[in-house]
């Protein structure tokens, strides 16, 4: 619950909205209750008034009963009995009405029952017998009436009624007081509720500003900065909600922009270096050709045939060097372009093709090339052939032995094949073991071992283009072993690893080579 609350701005907003709605609802409910309370109190007070009215009517009937009986017994005139008869007819309904009106007060209802019974008894056991007695023996009835208990009974009933009225009035007053108190409380509660609603609304506005508007503003400012070229800008991204996600996405975006920007700069720089070194390396044979051509021009009138042939051969040699340099540059450029072809290849066949192309040098040096069992890999046949060709060519070339020996072996390491091309050549100083894979890096003068200095760079690019790695292990004078990995056939290739060289290293290497 706590974490959901922290993670979702939507839920927080909904929650605050819900609280606000609940508060408003509560305030409304309180006011409704207050109004209903007042209405109910009004109704009850009215009912109490009606009850007192009904009781008064009953009391009037009671007085009429007594007066009627007294008048009739005293005078014997039938006419005077009329109020008694009317009252006797009316009082049960009046008592019933009174009972209904005090129905919600058990004590009052009991009092009404007692009064009703009292009147019933008064009529049945006093007034009617007295009237009967008066009809038979009026003087007896008169003497009974003189000291009889009729008046007492009446007074008792009237005082019971008076008590009932007083209680009804106090009940009504108490109800009104209670309703007033409740409605006061309700008004106070309502006001407090309103205040709370205002406070919550203010707090919500502040919270919204703090948790949504401010962070969005920050992201907007940062975007502006990025647009103005500052790719290092970051926004705080420590929150877990949607704003946090936005900030993190923004930071990821600027990081990615920054990386690709740097990458672009570096590769631009590489290209510059590359062009510089290429033109430098192309200038040497051009200068040689120019030298030879001047010599030919100067010596042409009296040069011997033999001398001319020798000079032209010099021109030819430099031209060959330029051609192979251009060819290697072309290879290097091609290898880096696009996705390599993925074919299932028997590396044995690929090796054989390379050996065919190297037939000349092998023959010339009397080299001995042996190969162990080789795996089936996935790759570009032309590029892999070139890879083997360059590595084997180097192994044969950089050897002072009369009969250089080269072995090609392979082992399976996980989902890739690891190849090793081992020679017994001059070896490489381990401190140069990395540098040799950069273009135009030569450890030896061209007069001693010819070459363009691009071969291993091509190898490196081919291997990394196939998703593998290449490295050298060597001891000076004891030969070198070049190892590289290639994906096995059927394995999905991993993406090409980014170049491991940096701009700075390339520059120093170049200087050393120069």
């Amino acid at each position: 619950m706590r974490s959901i609350f922290r993670r979702s701005l939507t839920i927080r907003t909904l929650l605050v909205g819900g609280v606000l709605a609940a508060l408003l609802g509560a305030v409304f409910a309180v006011l409704v209750v207050a109004v209903r309370e007042q209405q109910a109190a009004g109704r009850l007070a009215l009912r109490s008034q009606q009850a007192i009215g009904a009781g008064s009517a009953l009391e009037t009937s009671l007085v009429n009963l007594e007066n009627g009986v007294r008048g009739y017994v005293a005078s014997g005139r039938e006419r005077l009995l009329e109020p008694f008869r009317t009252a006797r007819r009316m009082y049960p309904a009046q008592a019933e009405r009174l009972s209904r009106l005090v129905a919600d007060e058990p004590r009052q209802q009991a009092a009404v029952r007692q009064i009703t019974t009292g009147i019933n008894d008064y009529v049945a056991l006093w007034a009617l017998p007295l009237v009967g007695l008066a009809d038979e023996r009026r003087e007896v009835a008169q003497s009974v009436l003189a000291t009889g208990t009729g008046r007492e009974r009446l007074d008792t009933l009237r005082s019971e009624l008076a008590t009932l009225f007083a209680r009804e009035r106090s009940v009504a007053a108490e109800r009104e007081r209670r309703a007033d108190r409740r409605s006061d409380t309700a008004v106070v509660l309502g006001l407090i509720g309103m205040g709370l609603v205002a406070l919550v609304a203010l707090a919500m506005w502040l919270a919204l500003r703090r948790s949504i508007l401010r962070p969005v503003e920050r992201v907007a400012l940062a975007t502006r900065a990025v647009a103005d070229g500052d790719l290092t800008v970051h926004v705080p991204a420590d929150r877990e909600d949607e704003i946090g996600t936005l900030a993190r996405s923004f930071n990821d975006m600027t990081d990615a922009l920054n990386r690709s920007h740097q990458e672009l700069e570096r590769s631009n720089h590489d290209l510059e270096q590359y062009a510089q070194m290429a033109s430098h390396d192309l200038q040497a044979p051009l200068a040689t050709i120019d030298l030879y051509l001047r010599l030919i021009e100067r010596r042409l009138p009296d040069a011997s045939q033999e001398e001319l042939v020798q000079l032209l051969a010099g021109v030819g040699g430099s031209t060959d060097r330029m051609r192979s340099l251009v060819r290697d540059l072309l290879h290097l450029a091609r290898v880096g372009r696009g996705e390599p072809r993925r074919e299932t290849l028997d590396t044995r066949a690929v090796l054989d093709r390379a050996l065919e192309n190297l037939a000349g040098p092998i023959e010339e040096r009397g080299a001995d090339v042996s190969a162990g069992p080789l795996p089936i890999v996935s790759g570009d046949p032309g590029q892999l052939s070139l890879l083997f060709q360059n590595l084997l060519g180097n192994a044969i070339k950089f050897s002072d032995h009369d009969a250089p020996h080269v072995s090609v072996t392979a082992s399976i390491e996980g989902d890739e094949a690891q190849f090793a091309v081992r020679d017994n050549g001059i070896g490489i100083d381990p401190q140069h073991a990395e540098r040799i894979f950069q273009p135009f890096q030569r450890l030896h003068g061209e007069d001693r071992y010819e070459g363009t200095g691009i071969g291993l760079a091509i190898c490196q690019r081919i291997v990394s283009h196939h998703g593998g790695r290449i490295w050298a292990e060597s001891t000076v004078g004891a030969g070198s072993t070049f190892r590289f990995t290639l994906p096995l056939a059927g394995e999905s290739p991993s993406p090409p690893a980014p170049p491991t060289t940096t701009h700075d290293e390339a520059e120093t290497s170049h200087a050393a080579a120069a």
Binding site: L15, V16, V19, A22, L23, A26, A29, V30, V33, R36, E37, A40, L44, A103, D104, P106, Q109, A110, R113, D121, A124, L125, W126, L128, P129, L130, G132, L133, R137, E139, V140, A141, S143, V144, A146, T147, G148, T149, R182, T185, A186, L189, I192, G193, L196, V200, A203
Partner: protein, 302 residues
């Protein structure tokens, strides 16, 4: 914080709502007066209150529902209430019944004769009498011991020795009854003055010397006191006044166990027992209901 405030407010609203529950439902109506309950009335003095309680409790003990209406009034009123159907039963004195209700001025010579005559009269009107009590609460005239000594009073006729005529404290009906002023004049040629007052107050008037004599009942509890002297009645003015329950005949037929519940009770009501019970209420201030219950229990009638 906001959530807590909201909770508090919601709680407040709930409390306010709980505080104003609607009015309670209508209270239950009182038990309807049982249609076949026997409406037992009594006249308006102590002995009658006690008798009413005794008969009512005895009837209830026999499973017969009773609605007791005590303190109704004099015999004339109670008889009228019987006639208009407001009552089913009341304890009456045989002599009063005969002289005041039946209007017979002749004095039967014995208690039994009085009872028989009264029963004969009531049967003609649709009522019947149950067995009468041993005690007879005859009317009597009492004077203080001091007055009796002063004027040498022994019989009712001696009252004419009081100069200027005797004043008698009595209930108002004494003036018009034969067993009252009427009989005093015709039987004893006595010229007396009646000071009317509610029953029970005449002893006080007697003590205070406001009157010379008082109309009393033979079973009055006050008469346990040696202070008072009852004047003899050699000319039989005051008749036999044994108590007999008067019952509407239709009710008697409708209620089989009624006589069986009432008669044994009446049989135990002697003058001594009645006077003691009257004394307990009038002098000791006990409740008639309690005194009645004690009597019934002592006599093994409950």
């Amino acid at each position: 914080m906001r959530a807590r405030l909201a909770t508090l407010l919601a709680l407040g609203v709930l409390l306010a709502l709980a505080g104003c529950g609607g009015g309670s439902a209508d209270p239950p109506k009182g038990p309807a007066q049982s249609a076949d309950a026997i409406r037992l009335g009594t006249k308006n003095f102590t002995e009658q209150y006690i008798l009413g309680e005794i008969y009512a409790q005895a009837l209830r003990a026999h499973g017969i529902p009773v609605e007791l209406k005590s303190d109704i009034g004099s015999s004339e009123i109670v008889d009228q209430a019987m006639q208009i159907g407001s009552l089913d039963m009341y304890p009456e004195y045989t002599g009063v019944l005969l002289s005041e209700i039946a209007g017979v001025s002749r004095r039967p010579p014995s208690a039994e004769a009085t009872f028989t005559a009264a029963q004969k009269f009531e049967r003609t009107r649709g009522y019947d009498l149950l067995a009468m009590t041993p005690f007879s609460n005859s009317n009597a005239l009492a004077v203080t011991h001091k007055t009796a000594m002063k004027y040498g009073l022994r019989t009712i006729g001696d009252l004419d020795r009081i100069p200027g005529g005797a004043t008698i404290a009595a209930p108002p009906e004494f003036r018009t009854r034969f067993e009252g002023l009427v009989g005093l004049r015709s039987r004893y040629m006595l010229r007396a003055k009646v000071v009317a007052m509610p029953i029970g107050q005449q002893y006080k008037a007697l003590n205070e010397g406001r009157v010379d004599a008082a109309a009393v009942f033979a079973t009055d509890g006050m008469l346990e006191d040696e202070e008072y002297v009852i004047l003899r009645d050699p000319r039989n003015l005051f008749s036999f006044q044994n108590v007999t329950p008067v019952v509407r005949t239709s009710v008697l037929k409708r209620t089989p166990g009624l006589a069986k519940a009432v008669d044994p009770v009446s049989a135990k009501l002697t003058t001594d027992a009645m006077r003691k019970m009257n004394a307990q209420v009038d002098i000791d201030g006990r409740e008639p209901a309690a005194v009645a219950k004690e009597f019934l229990e002592r006599e093994g009638l409950l």
